[in-house]
Subunit: 215 residues, 2 copies
């Protein structure tokens, strides 16, 4: 399993402790200001992506002195810089798992943009690789079929969020569903594992699953 | 214009300064722990809603000593406590504007649940009254037709997020759209007002509009 981590330019206050302590496995791609933070933590990203316009000269020097592969990129209507980083992690670096950090909190339009990535056809093949992570939440996405997920340590709650109409079954959690027809995007929150594993299946589109904990 | 404010039980760290300083106009409904914070700020909510199970005796006493209308409510499959507060603000208190505070940050399943409220048919008649507010974001919802919005002081960015397929026109912002067919929920972020007002129209479902600022 090859893991690539993305550190994007959102707020730093929702980072999980493991990120702050430098305990995340895998290589890194930095996006915009994420690159500065990575280098300051002693992590050299494999690739730095960004338009770098919002940085001052000293910040850009931190990056250019520490990263051999810098890709200056102006966001266009086809890909945002986070989307480009995802594409590189998957197509070029052949990642099996892509963790995205610093993508929550702050501007909600940015978060919703990242949250909805998984519904875009151009990312359909890689949605199961994506995890958006902060200190209270791990967000994953699934495509139709049968799935098994494992409880993440300390994460107490389990939410199922159909991103579209679908028939959904949740086989083994505190609240179960049996081939239930969900008409539109909806958040089934505050479910819980009743063991270490949960099995579920659905028939269309994308299902978002969030494991979370209280503060 | 009658404004009713809801303080729900989410994180307090994303409150706008105006809330912390007690400068929000209108009466209040408290939901769960939001009631404790209101009383501690010297605000007596008109109505307190919650299951109050997660509170200790001293917290509940703070509420019962200060609020005459306490409605103990166990969330059911039809309404969450926040949804019930919305319904009371609209149906019973006849609010024209319903501001929701403390509904962002923390558990993302809770936020998505609040964010998707506007797509539920049972709330379709009141979605234009709802605003979800934190220190960097004001989220509003609109139903089909022509609309005018006014720039909120200090809010630099303007995002349009169709919650479903629709034809969308943005008449006067930095990035315009002319009867553009949007196939699925998508976040058009980082647009900006080019004056004090922005006019837009669309033909189906619900459109989310977010005014936001950087930290």
């Amino acid at each position: 399993m090859k893991t690539i981590n993305l550190l994007v330019g959102g707020p730093t206050d929702l980072w999980p402790d493991s990120l702050r302590q430098g305990k995340i496995d895998g290589d890194w791609i930095g996006v915009d200001r994420g690159n500065v933070w990575l280098v300051q933590m002693g992590i050299k990203p494999l690739i730095s992506i960004g338009d770098f316009d919002s940085m001052d000269q000293s910040e850009f020097e931190i990056i250019s002195n520490n990263v051999s592969d810098i890709r200056t990129y102006n966001p266009d209507k086809y890909y945002t810089d986070t989307q480009l980083a995802l594409k590189i992690a998957s197509d070029e670096l052949k990642a099996d798992v892509i963790n995205i950090f610093s993508a929550t909190g702050g501007r909600i339009d940015h978060f919703i943009s990242n949250y909805l990535l998984a519904t875009e056809p151009k990312f359909r093949d890689i949605v199961e690789k994506i995890r958006i992570i902060d200190k209270q939440n791990v967000i994953q996405y699934f495509t139709p079929g049968e799935h098994e997920i494992t409880k993440i340590d300390m994460m107490h709650y389990l939410a199922f969020i159909p991103m579209n109409a679908m028939h959904l079954s949740i086989h083994d959690a505190v609240y179960k569903l049996d081939n239930y027809y969900v008409e539109r995007p909806f958040a089934y929150s505050s479910n819980q594992f009743d063991g270490d594993k949960c099995h579920f299946d659905f028939d269309d589109g994308v299902l978002c699953v969030i494991q979370s904990k209280d503060a």
